[in-house]
Structures are given as structure tokens and as C-alpha cells.
């Protein structure tokens, strides 16, 4: 898949797989075609689930008896763990399968692995894969009663991360139509940025900015409703929310930046830049954080940073998505 295609996947069929009816999820593969009302339903339900983590017994029996499989073809700590906790707090049984080191290494095909897991009567697959479109492929090859959740596919989408990001934003800014949001860094390789831009567009955020060196800005970014900036100081000026992205060196097959030191000078979130934000502005990061590359420790650990709240919110948002995808 070339870069242009990667950024421009528009697949009506995917929409139908995402949503059975207007208010009903079957799979959760992408945000692009979700109706605003369904996104708001997920956020509202997540608000109710947020309280569960504060209970003496951090569990509700909603998905008791269901079996969920974390099917990770790519390493992950935060996403896998928060999905696992979300499933456990809903009383589901969860299996973690790391396919980097498992059957596929012994020559088993993906479809055979899926068939085996289906024979074990699993109800849901949570899929992370280095190739764009992998979760969708799996959703087309599973039994009718199995839901598939995309936990990140290549450079394409990371819809649950975008959902937890907008959930976190809503905690600080209740009206999406009155905020300025900037996404800074490696936009080109970022599935988080793609999903986030779709979510912000659907929620009618009027001012979405992407800030990066030209080499890390995908072609056609303006088509996604964002304004691009090469100068960070200009880009983050008066923003309410700034989302910093990690430099994804593992996805870079050529040189996109001169060196990390220069990148930090031009695009790193240093304490000086806090003054450029709107008075109530917050700083976010999906993690893992590279301190001294895209953000300074002082900012990442400071009082404008909501990075750890994003992690906590990830559990409640994923509980909402798991339960809505699992309902009849």
C-alpha cells in the first residue's frame, strides 16, 4: 500500500462492518464513518464505567462468561494492559496471545490461527498488527458471532486511542465546537493522528492543526480537515489542546529528520512553549513518551500534562467499546 492509499482509505464496506445499525457496534475497526451520536454514546457510557475503577470491588458482571482474546502481532504494553484490565473489570475472561512469538513462527497461517481460536469458543478478538487493514481482514474471516476490535493496524487507525483522547479532552472542554487542537510530530507514521483527526472532524472541532517537518506530513492532510504548520510556535499558539506524538523510528525506512537533537529544538515541547498555549491549555501524549525527543520531562510531568489521565481513561473507554460491541 503506498502512502497516498494508506492515508486515504475510504471504504464504505468498512463502515457497514463497523456498525450494524446506527446505534449498534458489531466490530470497532475505525472511527472514520462512525456517526457522532454513537461516538457520544461511547463517551457517555465510559463516564459511567470510570466509577468502577474507584469501587472497592473494581468489577461489574456485565460480560461474565464471555471470552476475549488479545491478539497482538506487534508489541504493546499500555494498549494491551488497558484492554486486559477493561475486559477483567467487565468480568470477561481474557487470553493474551503474542503472535510475534507464537504459532505463526512455527508456520501456521493467520487463518488457521483464527480457526483454532474460534474452535475454542472465543467471543471477541482485539487485534494489533503492523499492517494497515489487518483488523478489517480478520473481521471478514471470523464467524458471525465474533466481534473484532482494532487496537492499532499499521499506519491506518488506532480508534480506541482516539476515543480515549477525545474522552480526556471532554473532561476539560465540554464543548468541542469551541476548541483549538494541535497534533505535533510524526503525523506521517501515526495511526493515532489519523483516527484522532477523524474523531475531531466528526465532533465538529473548528480548528485542527497538524505540526511537523514537511517530511513527516502526509500528502493530502488538508483533505482531512486539518491545517498544517511547519513552525511549532505558530502552530500551537492559543491552542487548548496539544497532542504530542512519538517519533516512530521503527516505521521509518529512510531519514526523515536530521537528528533527534535538532528535532527536539524545533518540535520538542519545552517549558517555554507552555506560555504559547491558551490559558487553560493541556498537553497530551499517547505514549510511550520519549523524554528529550518530543517532550521535556518538565512538561510531561507538569501540571498542564494529562498524560497519566489518558492512561486511566483508556480503561473506561475500552470498557465502553467492549460492552457496546458485545451487546446483541
Amino acid at each position: 500500500m503506498n502512502e497516498k492509499d494508506d492515508m486515504g482509505i475510504k471504504n464504505k464496506e468498512l463502515n457497514q462492518q463497523n456498525i450494524v445499525s446506527q446505534q449498534h457496534l458489531r466490530h470497532f475497526l475505525d472511527i472514520e464513518y462512525l456517526p457522532k451520536s454513537l461516538i457520544l454514546d461511547i463517551l457517555d457510557l465510559a463516564e459511567s464505567f470510570a466509577g468502577v475503577s474507584g469501587q472497592p470491588v473494581k468489577k461489574v458482571p456485565l460480560l461474565r462468561g464471555k471470552t476475549i482474546v488479545n491478539l497482538f502481532f506487534e508489541s504493546s504494553t499500555r494498549t494491551r494492559t488497558t484492554f486486559e484490565l477493561a475486559a477483567k473489570r467487565l468480568s470477561a475472561d481474557i487470553l493474551n496471545i503474542n503472535l510475534d512469538y507464537s504459532a505463526t513462527k512455527k508456520g501456521e497461517t493467520l487463518l488457521d490461527t483464527l480457526r483454532n481460536l474460534q474452535a475454542m469458543h472465543c467471543d471477541m478478538f482485539i487485534v494489533r498488527h503492523p499492517s494497515s487493514g489487518a483488523a478489517e481482514f480478520i473481521s471478514k474471516n471470523v464467524l458471525q458471532n465474533i466481534s473484532v476490535i482494532n487496537a492499532g493496524d499499521g499506519r491506518h487507525a488506532h480508534p480506541t486511542q482516539a476515543m480515549l483522547d477525545i474522552f480526556t479532552i471532554r473532561k476539560y472542554f465540554s464543548d468541542f465546537t469551541k476548541i483549538k487542537v494541535a497534533i505535533v510530530g510524526d503525523i506521517l507514521h501515526s495511526r493515532v493522528a489519523r483516527s484522532l483527526m477523524h474523531a475531531l472532524r466528526i465532533l465538529e472541532v473548528p480548528d485542527v492543526r497538524v505540526i511537523a517537518p514537511k517530511t513527516l506530513l502526509p500528502i493530502g492532510i488538508e483533505d482531512m480537515g486539518a491545517t498544517s504548520y511547519v513552525n511549532m510556535d505558530e502552530g500551537i499558539k492559543n491552542c487548548n489542546v496539544v497532542i504530542m506524538l512519538r517519533l516512530q523510528n521503527e516505521r521509518m525506512n529512510s531519514s526523515f529528520i536530521p537528528n533527534e537533537h535538532e528535532y527536539y529544538n524545533l518540535y520538542g515541547f519545552t517549558p517555554r512553549r507552555l506560555d504559547l498555549l491558551a490559558k487553560n491549555g493541556i498537553v497530551m501524549h499517547p505514549g510511550p513518551v520519549n523524554r528529550g525527543v518530543e517532550i521535556s520531562s518538565e512538561v510531561a510531568d507538569g501540571d498542564r500534562s494529562v498524560i497519566l489521565q489518558q492512561v486511566s481513561n483508556g480503561i473506561a473507554v475500552r470498557m465502553a467499546i467492549l460492552s457496546l460491541s458485545m451487546q446483541p
Binding site: I42, L45, S48, P56, L324, P328
Partner: protein, 169 residues
Amino acid sequence: MKYSKTQTQDLLLKIENSLRDYLLNNNIKNPIIIGVHTGGAWIADWLQKSLGFEGKAASLNISFYRDDFSKVGVNPRVDPTAMPVSVDDKHVILVDDVLFTGRTTRAAINEIFDFGRPLSVTLVVLVERNGKELPISADIVGEKLELDNNKNIKLLGPDPMILEIIDKG
């Protein structure tokens, strides 16, 4: 058919008086009053004030404890549970508007126990109707009703609270 405001108020006063006697007879001084969303929460708030207890009553959203998720799913637009104090070693007064099949009460009791181990749970309802499916009965009842299977009874509110009997839609 709608009850009048006065008729509903009479039932509320009846459960208030019964509960006052019950607390006195059982020497319960600081109970935790917990209402089930939404009607039960209105009544619990009303009882909290009329019995002279400070603060707001706790409220339970039993959506995540229902036994019919695999049939009807979950409603995303429900207020979260608000349990401001621990139920450990406390007498709990569980309040609902209508006791019908007993399934909501079963779910509410399960949820309460996820917040601790109360000394006792007493069930107070405004109306108990026929149709019980579980071995659950109320301790204090405003009125017992025999209704046809095609009828529903619900509480409108919160101010004023009015009971209404309607055809099942």
C-alpha cells in the same frame, strides 16, 4: 391512569412513617439510604430530607448488574452510581419505586455488596405489584397492586412525584 399528586404524596408519607418506626424499633440511628435510578433515587432523596438526615441519598445505577445484557444490551445514557460513603458495617435502606419481578432488587443488592459488607439491607418500595420471579419481598410497602400483565406502573418526577399506570408499549 394517573394517581393524583396527593395520592402519591400519601403513599410517600406512609412509607416515611413506616420507615421512621422501623428505624426506631430496630435502634438504627445512621442508616445509609440508597435509591435505585431513577424513581427510587428521587424517593430516596425525599426520604433522606424528610427523615432529617444530612446530605444527599446515595444512588445506584444497576445497568451493569442486570441479568438481561445478552438480550437487551446496555443503555449508554445512565447516570453513574453515586456512593459517597462506605457501606461497611452500616444498615442500608434500599429504596425503589416499584417492586415487580425482583430482578432489579437482585441486581441492586449485588452492586451494594461490591461497595462493602453492610450490616443489613432493608427494602422500601412505593408500590409492590404482582409478577414476582425471584424470592424477594419488600420490608416496607406503600401499596400492593394487582395489575394485568399488559400494564406497567411507573413514577413520574422528581417534583412532583406522580405514579402512573400505563399500557405496555
